[in-house]
């Protein structure tokens, strides 16, 4: 609404990006994101005793995870060579366990639409994202547009549920083996920041599917992903910070009413030395009070 404030946010964003500990701008109190779920009430009320019990159950796993982390830190044996043509799979679909890493949401969850969506195992043992998209807008005066289905991975975490980042710096391509139905899907890479203005930082690109009975292996370089926040493409674009990846997701929202189905075999990463592009969108200096306002 008031464009001058956005200048200040951008300064903040830049300082965050430059990793300066010093605040070069005044602290903002107006572009405050109240709650990281955007106002949607998704928390289930669990009584304290139950929470303690569940927590203690998980203690064993967490300690095991922690000891493993300590061992890895001690061994200090990082992968130094990323061979071209070798795909390192991050999320593989095949078992029920693999499905638990994903959260499925759609617009009908909070009464904002009429689409249906589900993530299951397909007949061949791969993941199947299927459902029906409906762009019918519910008549409650609040919703303007409807029709989306989304799956997202859980946030990368260390032992004891500490929030961590996925570090993909060594790679430059995202590889997906999918079998779609001809529709276009949106790939979302969340690089959620610490500050509230950076909570909704997402990088997107479109996954075009061929459809048909053939599997397709799609390689999308990270340089093609563009930044957006809460669905609005940002004016000042930066290449994706691959050391700060928090979640990955796939959305269906192509405004076409009808059923969709996307079989996913795996999602992986690759380093392709032939791809030398750093970023596909312009980063030159733009007029001061016009851009990002």
């Amino acid at each position: 609404m008031y464009p001058m404030y956005r200048l200040i946010i951008n300064n903040l964003r830049l300082s965050q990006r430059n990793n300066k500990g010093i605040h070069s701008s005044s602290i903002l109190n107006t572009f405050w994101e109240k709650d990281d779920k955007g106002g949607y009430k998704t928390k289930t009320q669990v009584p304290m005793k139950e929470r303690l019990r569940l927590g203690l159950q998980e203690l064993k796993q967490e300690i095991a995870l922690w000891t493993q982390e300590l061992k890895e830190d001690f061994e200090n044996d990082p992968v130094l060579v990323y061979r071209p043509g070798e795909t390192d799979i991050v999320w593989k679909f095949g078992t029920e366990e693999s499905l638990k890493q994903w959260v499925v949401t759609c617009d009908s969850d909070h009464g904002e639409g009429f689409s249906t969506c589900g993530l299951t195992l397909s007949n061949n043992g791969q993941g199947l994202l299927s459902g029906e998209l409906s762009t019918r807008v519910p008549k409650d005066g609040r919703v303007k547009r409807a029709g989306y289905c989304n799956i997202r991975t859980l946030r990368a975490r260390k032992s004891f549920k500490r929030e961590a980042y996925l570090n993909w710096v060594a790679y430059n391509m995202l590889v997906l083996k999918v079998r779609g139905d001809g529709r276009s899907y949106m790939l979302n890479i969340n690089t959620r920041g610490y500050y509230d203005v950076l909570w909704n930082d997402m990088y997107h690109y479109v996954l075009y599917t061929r459809g048909g009975p053939y599997w397709q292996v799609t390689k999308i370089p990270f340089s093609k992903f563009f930044m957006s926040s809460k669905g609005r493409v940002q004016d000042r674009q930066y290449p994706i910070p691959l050391n700060k990846v928090t979640n990955f997701g796939i959305s269906v929202g192509d405004k076409i009413n009808g059923p969709f189905s996307l079989e996913i075999d795996y999602i992986g990463l690759e380093y392709d030395p032939n791809h030398t592009e750093e970023f596909a969108y312009e980063q030159y200096k733009a007029p001061k009070y016009i851009v990002s306002t």
Binding site: M1, P3, N124, R145, S184, Y208, R210, G211, G258, I290
Partner: protein, 361 residues
């Protein structure tokens, strides 16, 4: 910044009604003949009714936007330009820094931003004439113009990014759609050949329709080496989307071959390195395997793909006969099983299979 009358309105000015009757502007919903011309007429009537003041223009534009779909003009750029043209030129341009910063005439600016948003939703790319319009109305510091600049930056970047482009507007004809669909599916193999058959050419066919079929030379070879004891399946109908239209297609398939599993050596494992210097070890026997084509998949070997006008079993039978004539003589002796999934599940019963055997011989 001289406001100029755009060309499209000049065309209509010759048809402008000259009568002095009171022209009542009926609401968009009450119009009987809903098409592009009547929509533009409505806009003209609104402008001519009160040329100077144009009271209620924001509400008019909002109501016009809401009714675009019922008139079928939501993807028409000229219509959007005509709507923006309702706003007066020059009046809303800010004259000092404070006006520019605090969204001068916010209601009008928000209205045009919503109009541009609707354009974006419908995938309509604006042009330079619209930029002139917006700059004449809101000046170069206006928010609608900023939104326009953003649209003009981002939309062309993704307009042609699909690897399987299709003309816009898409033809209504199912035959054309099926051709696009089969082209899309068979783009996996560069050597695929798409042929259009007519069911009429087969004597015993009941249907009279077209069949768009795709088969590559490697698929023909796979069929040639097919073991006649195993059946060949015609599976369908599967769905494929071509932009926003559904096409049903069928696949001629075979059970997957069990390939020799490659021993995956963990190259980083150093616990068991072979050292022929210190001891004689027999060389490991390795087997050579022909590289699999893209048509040999884990869930089956795909031998051909087709789409027919009427997705009936009869048309599929004609397709098999055509394929047989067109370089796959194996199909005459092979056992073809139809596993068609339609509204009522049609599974090939024993009788049908026998019938097919009789037909083929």
């Amino acid at each position: 910044m001289q406001p100029t009358t755009p060309l499209f309105l000049q065309k209509f000015s010759s048809n402008a009604p000259e009568s002095k009757e009171l022209q009542r502007l009926t609401s968009f919903e009450n119009v009987e003949n809903k098409n592009r011309d009547t929509y533009l007429d409505m806009i003209r009537i609104f402008i001519n009714r009160n040329h100077v003041y144009r009271r209620g223009h924001v509400e008019f534009i909002y109501s016009a936007l809401k009714n675009m779909e019922s008139f079928g003009v939501q993807k028409d750029l000229e219509v959007y330009k005509a709507l923006i043209d309702v706003l007066p030129k020059g009046k809303f341009i800010p004259t000092n820094v404070f006006q520019a910063e605090f969204m001068h005439y916010p209601k009008q600016q928000q209205c045009v931003i919503d109009l541009l948003e609707q354009m974006e939703d419908n995938g309509v790319m604006p042009d330079y004439e619209m930029e002139d319009l917006l700059s004449n109305i809101f000046g170069n510091r206006g928010f609608p113009l900023r939104k326009y600049w953003r649209m003009m930056y981002w939309m062309p970047k993704f307009k042609n990014s699909s690897p399987w482009p299709v003309p816009s507007p898409l033809p209504d004809n199912i035959y054309e759609l099926a051709k696009y669909a089969i082209q899309r599916i068979s783009s996996v193999d560069v050597q695929s050949q798409i042929t259009v058959y007519q069911t009429k050419e087969i004597e015993s066919s009941i249907d009279d329709t077209w069949i768009v079929s795709a088969q590559a030379p490697s698929q023909k070879d796979l069929l040639k080496n097919h073991d006649l004891k195993e059946p060949v399946y015609v599976e369908g109908s599967f769905r494929i989307w071509v932009k926003d239209q559904l096409v049903n297609y069928f696949v001629l398939k075979r059970q997957p071959k069990q390939h020799i599993k490659t021993i995956k050596d963990d190259l980083d494992d150093v616990s068991n390195i072979r050292t022929p210097i210190f001891s004689f070890q027999k060389p490991i026997e390795k087997q050579v395997q022909v590289m699999q084509s893209v048509h040999e998949q884990e869930d089956g070997v795909i031998l051909a793909v087709c789409a027919t006008g009427t997705s009936t079993k009869d048309s599929l039978l004609s397709w098999i006969r055509h394929l047989e004539k067109d370089g796959n003589p194996v199909l005459s002796d092979a056992l073809v099983v139809f596993t068609l999934r339609t509204g009522t599940r049609e599974v090939a019963t024993v009788n049908n299979v026998e019938q097919k055997q009789i037909e083929s011989k």
